[in-house]
Amino acid sequence: MSRVAANTASRRRGGLADREGLLTWLFLLPSVVYLAALVLVPLALAIALALSGVTAAAPAYRFTGVRRFGSVLSDGAFWRALTGTLVVAGVSTVLVVLCGQVLAHVLLARFRGRWLVRPLVLLPWTTPAALSATSWRWLLDSAHSPAGRLLRAAGVASWHERPAMVLGTIVAVQVWRLTPLAAVVMAAGLTAIPRDVRDAARVDGAGAVRRAVEVVIPLALPSIAVAALLTAILTCADAAVAAVLTGPGGSPWTLAALAYARGIEGGALGRGAAIAVLLLPLPLAGAAVLLRAGRSPAEEAA
């Protein structure tokens, strides 16, 4: 009897482990600090820079207001880069999802030698974007590279000047770079489909095509949406591939590359920041749309 009383008394005093409200905050704190330091502060800095006339030559902060955005929007290069970004992001996303689905099935298939194939599939993603873009540029550009020769033989002397060629090249490198990531995400989605449901479709008499279209793809839709979202955001925000492919002095074809060219290479920090801030709504809108689309099938599956 007395022991029970002693127990409840000590519990009432309560150790740290019993105070769940406090614990919640304690556990959340690191991620709050992380988000604030690495996301919110840089974002606020970028917006502050965009509202200023700061350049590399004159680093003192001068508030200029939203005038900067007006001058950016009246620049032809901005609109060209915006179109380029939309085209690259859109086409890359479609291609990455298609190639990623194929690779996801390769990753999941049981065959001899898959211990070798699996790391190879992931290799492009582990390579730094600037490095891979450099080697791609060499592949396409150098006088002695096979692709360069083929292009010249086809009558394309300098691919830098033709928008379709430049954008196509950027898309090719982005697809090559991001497909493995999408494949891993979608492979996880495919393994989450219950085996019973796949078996049921086989017993119900569905052939391979019907099983894919009516059962597997609808159930894998949430993971496909996540893969598409990641690809769209990463291609929108990526400056390295476009900047390296077109090189310093070349005309930038995507917004991120344009921001880099104006702000860092050109020294107009405020102008670069303004372009970057104008780029922000693109991935945000993509995230909102895809999260909404991905939600409904996921909820029904649960």
Partner: protein, 349 residues
Amino acid sequence: MRVLETRGLVKVYEGRRKQHVRALDGVDLTTEQGECLALLGPAGAGKTTLLRTIAGLESPTLGEVHLGGHLMNGLPPRARRVGLVVPSHALYPHKSVRGNIEFPLKAEHVPRAMRERKARWAADLLGIPDLLGRRPGRLSADERRRVALARALVREPAVLLLDEPLAGVDPRSRAAARDELRSLQRRLGTAMICVTHDQAEATGLGDRVAVLDAGRLRQVGTPQDLYDEPVDTFVATLIGTPPMNLVPRGDRLIGFRPEHLLPAEEVPPDGRVTMPLRVDRIEHLSGDRHVYGRVTRIGRETRVIARLPATVTTPLAGGETREFAVPGDRVRFFDAEYGNRTAPVRIGG
């Protein structure tokens, strides 16, 4: 007419560390048109593997599967015309109930009007016409079971394969669910194989019961056969609650069912086997008395259970020793080492 026949089915899986597991070890089984065969066995006996092999989801290592007189080996599930219901029901979560039931017909390219009519028919048969527009996620377990059944029988399969068809049905409505399943099957006239680990369900549901253990069929027969003439101690102790009492005597086991072990004065004297029973404990279960105790004299002292029907009113109390008896024709003999049925031996007394 024979609907399904398996001949010498063997299925070997390669388990962990290259170990071979024989999930099926030579299974010969037949089902007739309109028959319900219950497949009974403990967990891991190979019941589900057998169903999956018949459905074509697994290919046998050895042996043959015949459906409607045709060899099915190597044919994909969709060529087999079987309906399968698994314990998880495996409904398509993104399709409505109507979409689920129509799916097998769609796969057969049945025209839309016909599909709708048949889906309606199947839904009416299972009493779920109101659910056609709903998604599986919003259904109760019982409703999901009905949808899975409707989907399995909508294209009128030659055999219905049901894996634990009454799993998740609450114990109170089990008898009603069994009854409904049987009357449904009788109306359709399809052959049906029901997998279960519950002996009461197997004997209640099946025209015949096949007892499977470690990939081998122990015994196939009517529930009465299995109850009266079990071929070995495995079947003897699997069928019936409480299970058959087994008393060791030399190299034999003397087996008798709890309901045949009664106070001596309740058993006609000619041919009976009597034994003293020391009562440990008495349980009252819906009018019956289950008497837990120990018997001696006929063999080694052994714990047994006697089930006294409500009509036997002999007063009994714990700690008391009393003469009990079993009618002579109710005693079964098994080999003590291998458990198989043997010829009777004289017990005396």
